[in-house]
Amino acid sequence: MAEDGRKGISRFVAAVRNAVARHPILSWLVRRAVSIIRVMRANPLTLAGFVVVVVMAIAAILVAGLPPLGQLLFGRPASILPFGPSDLYLDNAFADPDIVRKLRIASSTLLPRFSAGGIVSGLTREEIMSPSTYHILGTDNLGRDTLSRVLAALPLDLVIGSGIAGISLVVGGGLGLVAGYWDRPRSIGGVISVIIMRFADIFLAFPSLVLALAIAASLGRGTLSSVLAILATWWPYYVRLVRGEVLTIKHQPYVMAARAAGVSELRILFRHVVRNLLEPLIVYYSLDIGTVIIVFSTISYIGVGAPPSTAEWGNMTESYKAFLPLHPWPVLAAGLAIFLAALAFSLLGDGLRDFLDPRSRRALTQAAAPSTVPAVATGPGGG
């Protein structure tokens, strides 16, 4: 009897595998999933980075997206934060202690809840609290829950990080493509390439911090001015990276083979050149997100970034650093958040590089370090 059951199951499994193998989209998905799983199992660090990034992304979406969604659906903003980022809660002594306690119990679980929102009453406990059951990471000097503030800063920092790096990638990458692909000796393309590179050099000369201060002084402080400052100093790195890669790829034999097969120049550019460009570019992008988060937090720490009352990791580090000797939790929480975010993106970037290079996917199971595509340029001079 058990025999028949096992045979039936194996036949079913075989049938499912056949069906999937025949369907092009499904089999592609399955192959992708299998290779991702294989990468993850061989490289625990990559897995850790991947998991943390995914968790952060989901948390950021929920933190930022649930309140308006709740407003839309239920008429009141929903939230996964145990407390609002600016919520000031009372301790014991207040008009309706039971309600407050019930609210606290209900909201100490990270389930969507309807936020009480805002300042409950004029009476506040202006005292920093250590981690307790209700406040997992304690509160800050105004009674605001640390965990909520750290989580509330998550979408802001993530969006700024990936946004700045993304815009730099698009703008810088596009310019790098132009500067690299049509750069031939004694041609218009060469002149344009020189112009682009020297223009990029101008912006490379500025340190992000100094430029942020200057822009803050002229345009006023705030998130937008600091973002503009970082953007201005960030895009040239991508120009250099992309141009270097394009120059190498341009001379590869497979590009000439594609040309010999009659592929038009534009299609070569977008299909062959760009696809081989992606590996270092995506790795650099992931690493860059971490770096931008750190830079933005630093700028906010100094005071020219996000406004002081906004929940932002750099801001929080600056506000709470005075309490370090006795109450290290707020600073630690904010600092750890920055660290974890940057680390997760670094690990993910490394893992992505291994994953994207088809050649090193084999080596992944031995967890070996991959190499870049060997640049053997053979041209008509070979004989």
Partner: protein, 379 residues
């Protein structure tokens, strides 16, 4: 009948910091449909440059065509603007390269790469690509000319593409079928298994077959093979050459076979041109050139092939070395190493590629030597 390819007095220079390197000097030859022409010579003699120059794949800024014409089906390729060349490549002129691992894009699977070539050809055959088929129609795009009535009537009407339009030409089902057909054409037994593989997951012989499949899927009239087997070991080389010979019978493509291996040339080609320092020094039917060479360089080349049976004695070789292309000898390029050298050989310009004055050479056996009659007497 119009020759498929006629190269006349092609001279190509590379502008380098050290000076002007004349990679091709006054190269002229003719190729007819269905024939295989071999170009043989030492490393650095310019044969690869010649192959690339015919398809205009030599990067133009450092290289410059100084003089000459390349007439493909009667149309001068050098007069065409560069952006029109992709129309000819693939379906008119195809090319396979020396290192198969480097000639396939490592980021794409085999199916994608072969399908790309098939897709290009199908679009061109339907006239959907603005750079329409050139080589197959034999249409003259370099000079504006109205087609004659008979030409218009002789071409089949293009069938309407149906509701799906261009997508029906490049539908994945049809593409896949054609890709599999071309892979079977190059004798890959189970093509379905390799479709999803990447180039680095295949052996060298397999990769070279795939390159041949990609080149043939454009159905070119002229296939330029630039040392296709030099990167393969001898057994795989034999397989690929056998495959190419069989394909020559199946597919009516003329081949320009470039190699440094005299044995391969002897086996595969109908006519041969021997190159030295950028010039063709001898040209003719391969049996005649190899049995009775009429240029001292060819004779020396043939003599220097190691012979298994004659095991004793020193290996005969040519004295001297290939000249520096920046400082070529005056007159005949070969004269510093030639056993027949006379005063006349040093005077510019050097000897032209001409028919011999002695009898017995029919079918255009040419040699660039003033004293080609005496070559027979050389040891």
């Amino acid at each position: 009948m119009e020759p498929l390819l006629r190269v006349s007095h092609l001279t190509l220079d590379y502008e380098t910091k050290g000076g002007r390197v004349r990679a091709l000097r006054d190269v002229s030859f003719t190729m007819h449909e269905g024939r295989v022409l071999g170009i043989v010579g030492e490393t650095g003699c310019g044969k690869s440059t010649l192959g690339h120059a015919i398809a205009r794949l030599v990067p133009e800024p450092p290289a410059r065509v100084h003089a000459g014409r390349i007439e493909f089906r009667g149309n001068d390729l050098l007069k065409l603007p560069k952006w029109k060349m992709p129309a000819i490549r693939g379906t008119g002129i195809g090319m396979i390269f020396q290192e198969p691992i480097n000639s396939l894009n490592p980021a794409y699977r085999i199916y994608d790469q072969v399908a790309e070539a098939v897709r290009i050809r199908r679009l061109r055959e339907a006239g959907k690509n603005p750079t329409a088929t050139f080589g197959q129609e034999g249409f003259d795009y370099s000079r504006p000319r109205m087609p004659t009535t008979s030409e218009i009537l002789s071409k089949p009407l293009r069938p309407s593409l149906g509701r799906r339009g261009v997508a029906s030409l490049v539908s994945s089902k049809e593409l896949r079928k054609e890709v599999l057909d071309f892979l079977r054409l190059v004798r890959i037994n189970d093509p379905e298994t390799i479709l999803d593989l990447y180039p680095h997951e295949l052996s060298g012989g397999m990769r070279q077959r795939i390159m041949i499949a990609i080149a043939l899927s454009g159905r070119p009239s002229l296939l330029i093979a630039d040392e296709p087997t030099s990167a393969l070991d001898v057994t795989i080389q034999a397989q690929v050459l056998t495959l190419m010979k069989e394909l020559m019978d199946e597919v009516r493509t003329s081949i320009l076979f470039i190699s440094h291996d005299l044995a391969v040339i002897a086996e595969m080609t109908d006519d041969v041109g021997v190159m030295y320092a950028g010039r063709i020094v001898e040209f003719g039917p391969v049996a005649e050139v190899f049995e009775s060479p009429r240029h001292p360089y060819t004779k020396a080349l043939l003599r220097s092939i190691p012979n298994r049976r004659k095991a004793e004695g020193a290996l005969p070789s040519l004295p001297g070395s290939v000249p520096n292309l920046l400082r070529l000898p005056t007159g005949c390029v070969f004269h510093p190493r030639c056993p027949l050298v006379r005063e006349a050989c040093k005077e510019p310009p050097g000897p032209e590629l001409v028919m011999g004055t002695d009898t017995g050479s029919v079918g255009g056996h040419l040699a660039a030597c003033y004293f080609s009659n005496e070559v027979k007497a050389l040891p």
